[in-house]
């Protein structure tokens, strides 16, 4: 099992760096993963996105549609791509502690 080390904490991840155990996720873990991706501070907008992704995952077992993220956060599509330069999947879903979604992402 690959691991990543951020600020002296070691996380088990899949090959793409998504948490191997999504249940260990909390706010601090989110901040650390974001930091690993070069996002030094998660602002209110980042959190709005991360929280909706996380709650959708806990409820339905998968990431929400980008439509849902826009609707629930009131953010524009392009803003989301700017906030998470790796995109909603490899960026935001990873910070939200989800497993990697299937498909071309």
């Amino acid at each position: 099992m690959p691991t990543i080390e951020i600020d002296n904490r070691i996380f088990e991840v899949d090959g793409d760096g998504f948490l191997a155990n999504p249940e260990i996720w909390n706010q601090e873990v989110a901040e650390l993963i974001a930091k690993y991706d070069g996002i030094t501070e998660l602002n209110e907008k980042h959190w709005a996105i991360v929280n909706i992704i996380r709650s959708n995952y806990e409820e339905k077992g998968m990431a929400p549609m980008i439509r849902t993220i826009c609707k629930e956060t009131g953010l524009r599509l392009r803003e989301i791509y700017e906030l998470f330069p790796l995109g909603p999947a490899r960026g935001a879903c990873r910070v939200a502690g989800l497993p990697k979604p299937d498909g071309c992402v």
């Binding site: 090959g15 995109g87 498909g103």
Partner: protein, 431 residues
């Protein structure tokens, strides 16, 4: 890895018995060891170990062939380089044929005697597939498609809501409340397809293509039952599963009574449906199949799209998806389009038929197991992009888009990545 059972090994070997024509054994036994394929391979170029040479990958399969199918291999295997299909061999085949090949076909193009190396790699993958050794993450993408109808398990309600949302967006964009993104409308000229990552996460390319159709006055529809252009079973080489996925789109074409199936910007999906598909479903198509790249080029040539390149002032380069240029026959259309849609177009070196894979092909993007290698081989593409000085990279493949997005961050390229439809939509002049 769990120890292989006798049945598993027999299933793997069954691939060696059933090829209908002479292509498989001819190509498998024809390598002249000239070594020209070595430098053509992105894996060998970033990690110059002999095992990454395409001919060495093929040699794994031919060693097994010799062991079970030739007299010398059965009697004196050590003398003729024949090898058992055992645990060690299966692990090596998995690591190299799944984990170190993007099936880009560049080695095939450079082969001095024309061995279809990427075809042989797929035959090797087929052996592993029958043995149940497809990497889990890749199989999971196929399973999602098989069980839910699309590879990201998008529900019908979610899909419809997304399309309605995009339709409202389109109406604002073109300032016309009658602008539509038609859903499930029979008897249209075209049935358009999507990569599921578009509705799920990256819908700007759907909006862009809808704007193109609007500007061209096209008669088109999407279908909620089947819109997924991808077919990852092409890469797992499970032909039964590939057939099921192909048949769905085939049936939907008949169901919607559309004349032409238009494939979204997707390299492997284009190859799988257009060229492999009739073989998967064992019948020829009674409809036409076009890639959206060809269709957009056609609109421009016919004067149905008016473009103002001044709307795309930045320097733009093009990344050619392997499955369009080397096995798709689509070399000129994307260049013709860009020359009409942008002011400053520059080619990468090499480009076109000799283009380097971005590193995400062959199912690599889906396989977490080999992520590190994928990013490593992508450096060649990152260097190519840097050398052009372009601010925008256009590529007609959503899989390449995702790999380039990661390369953009990893190698600090500072670029924007767009599909062909997206850059064209920017340049459209509405009458």
């Amino acid at each position: 890895m769990k120890k292989l059972s006798k049945e598993q090994i027999e299933k793997g070997l069954s691939v060696l018995n059933e090829n209908k024509d002479s292509k498989f054994i001819t190509h498998l036994n024809s390598c002249v060891r000239c070594g020209l394929c070595a430098e053509s391979c992105v894996y060998y170029r970033v990690t110059p170990e002999a095992r990454f040479i395409p001919a060495k990958k093929v040699d794994l399969i031919s060693a097994v062939y010799r062991r079970y199918k030739t007299f010398a291999g059965k009697t004196v295997p050590g003398l003729v380089g024949a090898k058992d299909l055992d645990d060690e061999m299966a692990a090596e085949m998995t690591d190299l044929l799944f984990g170190a090949c993007t099936v880009c076909g560049r080695c095939t193009m450079h082969c001095s005697i024309g061995v279809d190396i990427s075809y042989l790699v797929r035959c090797g993958r087929q052996m592993l597939s029958r043995m149940g050794l497809v990497p889990e993450t890749l199989q999971s993408t196929v399973n999602a498609a098989l069980t839910t109808g699309n590879n990201m398990s998008i529900s019908e309600d979610d899909f419809v809501e997304t399309i309605k949302w995009l339709e409202e967006d389109l109406q604002m964009e073109v300032n016309n409340d009658d602008a539509r993104i038609p859903l499930n409308e029979p008897d249209k000229k075209l049935l358009y397809t999507l990569n599921p990552r578009e509705p799920k996460f990256f819908p700007l390319s759907i909006s862009a293509m809808a704007k193109v159709f609007y500007a061209a006055g096209e008669s088109w529809t999407l279908s909620t039952r089947m819109y997924d252009v991808t077919n990852y079973a092409y890469y797992t080489v499970n032909n039964e599963e590939a057939s099921i996925i192909t048949k769905r789109l085939y049936d939907e074409m008949e169901n919607m009574n559309a004349g032409t199936c238009v494939l979204a910007e997707c390299g492997h999906g284009s190859r799988a449906f257009r060229w492999e598909g009739p073989n998967y479903v064992q019948k020829s198509y009674p409809f036409e199949v076009l890639t959206s790249v060809e269709l957009i080029a056609q609109y421009i040539r016919e004067g149905r799209l008016k473009l103002d390149p001044a709307k795309n002032p930045d320097k733009v380069t093009l990344h050619d998806p392997c499955n369009l240029v080397r096995t798709g026959g689509i070399l000129e259309e994307q260049r013709f389009i860009l020359k009409q849609a942008v002011i400053d177009f520059v080619e990468m070196n090499p480009h076109g038929a000799d283009n380097l894979c971005c590193g995400g092909g062959g199912g690599q993007l889906a396989m977490s197991e080999y992520n590190e290698r994928r990013i490593k081989i992508g450096k060649l593409k990152a260097d190519q992009i840097k050398a052009t000085g372009a601010k925008v990279v256009v590529t007609p493949c959503h899989n390449c888009v995702d790999q380039l997005t990661q390369l953009n961050i990893t190698y600090k390229l500072g670029i924007q990545i767009k599909t062909v439809a997206e850059i064209v939509a920017e340049a459209i002049v509405l009458e």
